[in-house]
């Protein structure tokens, strides 16, 4: 992980400076197409995510950022295009397919169950069962262990806004709900973590906590895709920036190669890369 300091000079700005020129991407997609009836959500999008980087995805409302995230993570099946994870071609049919390969996602709508508590939400769909026949035959959940682990995981991730894991989600503030969703992805993502606007409802302190968490994930070897409208945050945390425009990738830039004004110009079509 000492590559971070060694800045390789490369002419190809679509590769992270921190990666050797011919490293294969952890997650790669080519020619992704997704249409909803007459609406074109994705119009042939390529994207690459490399080891050791935070890749930000920016774009105007409706540019296809969330659609891209959904297609990459099994929440939507693309009409066309290919997805590769560590060199293996994938065909994710549903979100659990991607989860199975260690790709965890915070979707824009958060996808938490309001009536269930924090611990249940963290473990939803991958519940722990009691040891022995109680678990194997009678399928009894080990709620105590899940609560204990959930608490430990929140501590480890440094998410201080959630104290009590037995509180139902509906009793949490918007920012706290977002923290639950981020914690779930960070806790279970072993290959890639994808975050679609994870800080939209957060205060300054909580936003910084999430940005720290994102950097920590990257440094622990889990690359992160971050969708955000917040330019300062993006330029703060991202290694590279994928600019999505009208269902296409307009450019991939880095915070070094371009400044915010230039990025916004590409986003809105006022300039090209």
């Amino acid at each position: 992980m000492d590559q971070k300091g060694t800045k390789l000079t490369t002419t190809d700005s679509s590769r992270p400076a921190s990666t050797l020129p011919y490293t294969q991407p952890v997650l790669k997609a080519t020619g992704l197409v997704k249409t909803y009836g007459k609406v074109v959500g994705l119009d042939g999008v390529d994207i690459e995510l490399y080891q050791g980087e935070v890749l930000a995805v920016i774009g105007d409302n409706g540019a296809g950022k969330s659609t891209l995230i959904k297609c990459l993570t099994g929440a939507e099946v693309p009409d066309g295009g290919e997805i590769w994870l560590n060199g293996r071609q994938m065909s994710f049919k549903r979100p659990q397919d991607a989860k199975q390969f260690g790709v965890e996602t915070v979707y824009q709508g958060l996808a938490v169950s309001p009536a269930l508590d924090i611990a249940s939400n963290l473990y939803l769909g991958r519940e722990l069962r009691k040891p022995g026949i109680l678990g194997s035959v009678f399928r009894v959940l080990d709620s105590k262990l899940m609560r204990k682990n959930a608490k430990a995981e929140l501590d480890r991730l440094g998410i201080s806004t959630l104290q009590d894991v037995t509180v139902a989600i509906e009793n949490l503030s918007g920012g706290q709900r977002q923290a639950v969703a981020v914690a779930r992805a960070a806790a279970f993502g072993s290959k890639v973590v994808v975050l679609d606007e994870p800080t939209a409802a957060l205060g300054v302190r909580e936003t910084n906590q999430v940005l720290d968490l994102i950097r920590r994930l990257r440094d622990e070897g889990i690359p992160v895709i971050l969708v955000s409208h917040n330019m300062p945050n993006v330029f703060d945390v991202a290694d590279r920036i994928h600019i999505q425009r009208l269902g296409k990738r307009a450019a991939t830039i880095t915070p070094k190669s371009h400044n915010m004004t230039e990025a916004v110009a590409i986003m809105t079509g006022a300039a090209s890369a």
Binding site: R94, E127, L141
Partner: protein, 353 residues
């Protein structure tokens, strides 16, 4: 491990204290009314429990005969069938659906059980099994229509209600089967045994066993949790990695199995199988579930609440009859209860905002 918690946990006097610090910031606790609302929101079975106790006290005062052992026995028997149907109904309503065909499935299964045994000479255990299979198949049909054709459960079960009734009438030639023609095993659910003087039927016991088993399944297994999650927010459940359609289908199939047991209980209770038995059981089961605090919007409610709801319906009908009021007042009372219960649910749900 278990003894460990018993020591470290604070004594269970009311809700555990530290647990709600976080939540309390976002709940309005300023007035007694809003505190009551929070309480009811947290414990959905609380309001039906209060209503039941109050109803029992009032009816006991109005008519001393209410507490006679024969009458108590009668109430439990009346509740056994509706209570069992309410289990199936609760599962479906928890997924934000509704099952209008519970009565029809129960009657169909009961006619299959009674008729194959009485008319076709099928051995009693096999006849019960056939009834169970019919229940599973009928529930499965509902489930397939809801998940594959993506039709609203209300429409699907409105259709299958009529289909199942028609099949029942065709299959039975619209004729009842009397108890004397039915093997003892099938009418066993009507047999009573005394519990502190009150005659309890095996059908009532069967219903209680179903409640215990299903409450365990709903509270302590992943499947139960997934049923709540699907009813709570379908898209969120899907994105979390839950197979929403599989959960929905299984709910209807399990409901069908429970309804078949309900059919068995019904035969014992009536000491007969009649193709016209289930007409008002649909609405009574929905009433029980709604009074029991389960939200029609899904994801919220408990089975025990539904049992309380079924008891409330039974106690009201019985108590009003004992007080010498016409059946129409029972119907009126049940109607008012439903409206009040749903309004209460709406009011309680405002806690969220």
């Amino acid at each position: 491990m278990t003894t460990d918690t018993a020591q470290t946990n604070p004594p269970p006097a009311g809700p555990p204290p530290a647990q709600h610090d976080l939540a309390s910031e976002f709940l309005d606790r300023s007035t007694p009314i809003s505190r009551l609302r929070n309480l009811l929101h947290r414990y959905p079975a609380l309001s039906p429990a209060i209503v039941l106790v109050v109803a029992i006290v009032i009816f006991g005062i109005i008519s001393p005969r209410f507490f006679f052992v024969n009458n108590l026995s009668l109430i439990t028997q009346q509740v056994a069938v509706v209570g069992t149907l309410a289990i199936a109904q609760t599962l479906v309503i928890l997924t934000a659906g509704i099952d209008l065909s519970v009565g029809a499935i129960m009657v169909l299964a009961s006619m299959v059980m009674a008729q194959t045994a009485a008319r076709n000479g099928v051995p009693a255990p096999l006849a019960l099994l056939l009834g169970l299979i019919v229940g599973l198949a009928a529930g499965g049909l509902n489930g397939v229509l809801v998940t594959r054709l993506k039709l609203p459960p209300f429409i699907v079960t409105l259709g299958t209600l009529n289909i199942f009734l028609a099949i029942t009438l065709l299959h039975s030639n619209s004729a009842s089967v009397v108890g004397t023609d039915i093997p003892g095993l099938i009418t066993w659910t009507g047999t009573t045994f005394p519990v502190v003087g009150v005659g309890i039927t095996y059908g009532v016991v069967l219903m209680l066993v179903l409640y215990i088993v299903m409450a365990f399944v709903m509270g302590r297994t992943a499947w139960g949790r997934h049923v709540y999650a699907v009813g709570d927010d379908k898209e969120a459940a899907r994105l979390t990695g839950i197979r929403v359609n599989r959960v929905l289908l299984s709910v209807y199939v399990v409901a069908g199995a429970i309804l078949a047991v309900g059919a068995w209980i019904q035969i014992g209770r009536a000491d007969a199988a009649s193709p016209n038995a289930g007409t008002d059981l649909n609405l009574d089961s929905i009433t029980a579930v709604v009074i029991g605090g389960t939200s029609l919007f899904g994801g919220r409610g408990t089975l025990w609440g539904s049992l309380l709801g079924a008891l409330i319906v039974g106690v009201f009908r019985n108590g009003l009859a004992l007080a010498g009021l016409d059946v129409l007042y029972q119907t009126l009372a049940v109607g008012i209860l439903v409206i009040v219960a749903v309004s209460l649910d709406q009011w309680i749900r405002k806690v969220r905002n």
